[in-house]
């Protein structure tokens, strides 16, 4: 096992009085893909949204326990959520490019962090679009509105936008659930390339996808972590009965 990038210790999460996550303890290794699977409402999205503190936006959301990123507690007193999100990027379920040009979308992050130099921005935009396998398709039309792109292209643009901030971790929250199979395959290829440089956590309800792209898999059920281990082992020799039932499609 390589070094641990993110580690969760006894993490509990409540929305008001409803507990959505119970005692989650797991470790996500550096530069690997960790998949989180489980039926709808099992808390997998809630969990991934803890990692970049997107749950801060949710009213009455209350968290206890520890969530460590590079050894420091994400929910510690002196952690700035804005700074944290520069290091932990996120790609959402529904492609959500801003209603601006392709260029401005990718340049948004670097600009947020104070970069004004046009040449430097050009370079970052080009690099990010290349890294997200979008350069060949949109490299010559950076001024077109991002809204005109297809769903799959929009999602890869969102990945490019995330890469432009140069994060260490990228969280994918069901990134393919709104996409067709061909676009999905492209995103999966991309994840396979990106894992050489980034730690990736992906939530998916598609088990084949988890099996294809991930190195480690966590199975969540009703807010609890049922099983966590190497993907191969989870899919071929699950220890728990409920994991096996879910993977073989007996419920879910």
């Amino acid at each position: 096992m390589s070094e641990i990038e993110i580690e969760s210790r006894n993490l509990d999460l409540w929305y008001g009085s409803a507990q959505a996550l119970k005692e989650i303890t797991m470790a996500m290794p550096e530069k690997k893909v960790t998949a989180i699977i489980g039926p709808s409402g099992c808390g997998k999205s809630s969990f991934i949204r803890c990692i970049n503190r997107m749950n801060d936006l949710v009213k009455d959301c209350h968290i206890t326990g520890e969530l460590l990123f590079e050894g420091t507690n994400i929910y510690g007193n002196n952690v700035d959520a804005v700074e944290l999100r520069k290091k932990i990027g996120m790609v959402f379920q529904k492609p959500n490019p801003f209603p601006m040009s392709i260029y401005d979308n990718v340049a948004y992050g670097p600009r947020v962090h104070g970069l004004r130099n046009r040449e430097e921005l050009d370079r970052i935009v080009e690099e990010s679009l290349k890294a997200s396998a979008l350069w060949n398709e949109v490299g010559d039309i950076p001024d077109r509105s991002a809204i005109d792109l297809s769903g799959g292209q929009q999602q890869r643009l969102c990945i490019a936008r995330t890469l432009a901030v140069k994060p260490k971790v990228i969280l994918f929250d069901e990134p393919c659930s709104a996409l067709d199979p061909i676009s999905t395959a492209k995103i999966e290829d991309l994840i396979n390339t990106l894992k050489h440089d980034y730690t990736i956590v992906i939530v998916t309800h598609n088990m084949q996808q988890a099996a294809r792209v991930s190195d480690y898999t966590a199975f969540f059920l009703l807010g609890e972590l049922v099983e966590f281990g190497k993907t191969k082992q989870i899919f071929e020799l699950p220890e728990k009965k409920s994991t096996e039932d879910y993977i073989t499609g007996r419920f879910g």
Partner: protein, 340 residues
């Protein structure tokens, strides 16, 4: 398949049913649905519903038509009364004429409303300069920052502000604002500044509530995407949320301008009502007379050409407000177009 059923319908002996069947397309689809059950009873029930339905539709149509009819009648009435002077003086001379002297003791009366057109725009734009930054800031606070308890208090306060009759605002302006301006800024007190401030108070709730709606209808995903890239909340508001809500905000501002130009009572009480251009033209402490005040002040005693000139003022006012409304609606519609 459809035609088969229709032919089936034609086979029914009952002549009355046949008539209903051929009545319109909707009936045919009902036939299609009930193809396997006895037809006659079902259809009669449906037709009876259809009749009452039609009466209701007709009544609704008439109500809608009434609104259009009233607008049309007002336009016809305005034109009938006002065109006389417009033709006599000439539209250009009427709108650009500098001198308003409807009851000339010696010589010809003159009907020039240019100072009043300027005055209307002056006080309206003045009110926007005050109300837009304030209203927008308030809308951003309401939509993005305020906790729910603060939001509900503010919302109620704003509704109360809408409910204040304009004459009361004018009265407050008259006894508080006018002397205040006289004492602290000089001049007569009755002024463009006083009118703009009163109009700004009246425009605020409209700007706030429409902008608030526009901001709240920006998709949540945009906000999340921006925050996830490490942008601060304020940066997100400035660079993503406000630009996405832009068309709604523009619509709010223009609509506020249209109502400000059309506002009469409160303005009349504080602007001084002298039908000349301020001198120098940028002097906001000078009194002016907007078009609305002109009509209200003189209608009670005007006769002949004078009365007609007031109606002509009304035509100009109507056109200005109508154009602003159209612009505002276009802005709102363009938002729908660009939205995914």
């Amino acid at each position: 398949m459809c035609t088969d059923h229709l032919r089936g319908g034609g086979d029914i002996e009952n002549a009355e049913t046949n008539r209903y069947i051929s009545e319109d397309v909707d009936q045919r689809f009902i036939l299609l649905d009930f193809a396997r059950v006895p037809l006659t009873c079902k259809i009669t029930v449906d037709v009876r519903m259809k009749t009452s339905e039609r009466i209701i539709e007709l009544l609704l149509f008439l109500s809608a038509a009434t609104a259009v009819l009233i607008v049309a009648l007002i336009i016809i009435f305005l034109l009938k009364e006002g065109l006389l002077v417009l033709v006599k003086v000439g539209i250009v001379d009427f709108c650009l004429g500098m001198k308003w002297n409807p009851i000339a003791i010696a010589g010809e009366p003159s009907y020039g409303i240019f100072p009043m057109i300027v005055a209307s725009f002056y006080v309206a734009i003045g009110s926007l300069i005050i109300a837009v930054p304030l209203g927008l800031a308030c809308a951003v606070f309401l939509a993005e920052i305020a906790p729910s308890w603060a939001r509900s208090i503010l919302k109620h306060a704003i509704e109360l502000l809408v409910g204040i009759p304009s004459v009361i605002l004018g009265f407050v302006g008259l006894v508080l604002l006018v002397p205040f301006i006289r004492d602290h800024f000089g001049g007569w007190g009755f002024s463009i500044l006083a009118g703009s401030i009163i109009l700004a108070i009246m425009a605020l709730p409209r700007i706030i509530s429409i902008s608030d709606d526009a901001i709240r209808s920006v998709p949540r995903e945009y906000k999340e995407a921006s925050l996830a890239l490490g942008a601060t909340h304020w940066h997100t508001i400035r660079k993503v949320i406000l630009p996405s809500a832009r068309s709604g905000i523009v619509a709010a501002v223009i609509l506020a301008m249209a109502t400000s130009i059309g506002e009469t009572m409160a303005v009349l009480m504080v602007v001084g009502n002298t039908p000349i251009l301020p001198a120098p033209i940028y002097d906001i402490l000078d009194p002016v007379r907007p078009m609305t005040s002109n009509i209200l002040l003189e209608m009670s005693y005007a006769t002949g050409d004078h009365a007609s000139a007031l109606f002509a003022t009304g035509i100009v006012l109507f056109i200005v407000v109508a154009v602003l409304n159209v612009i505002s609606h276009t802005a709102l519609k363009s938002k729908m177009g660009t939205r995914r």
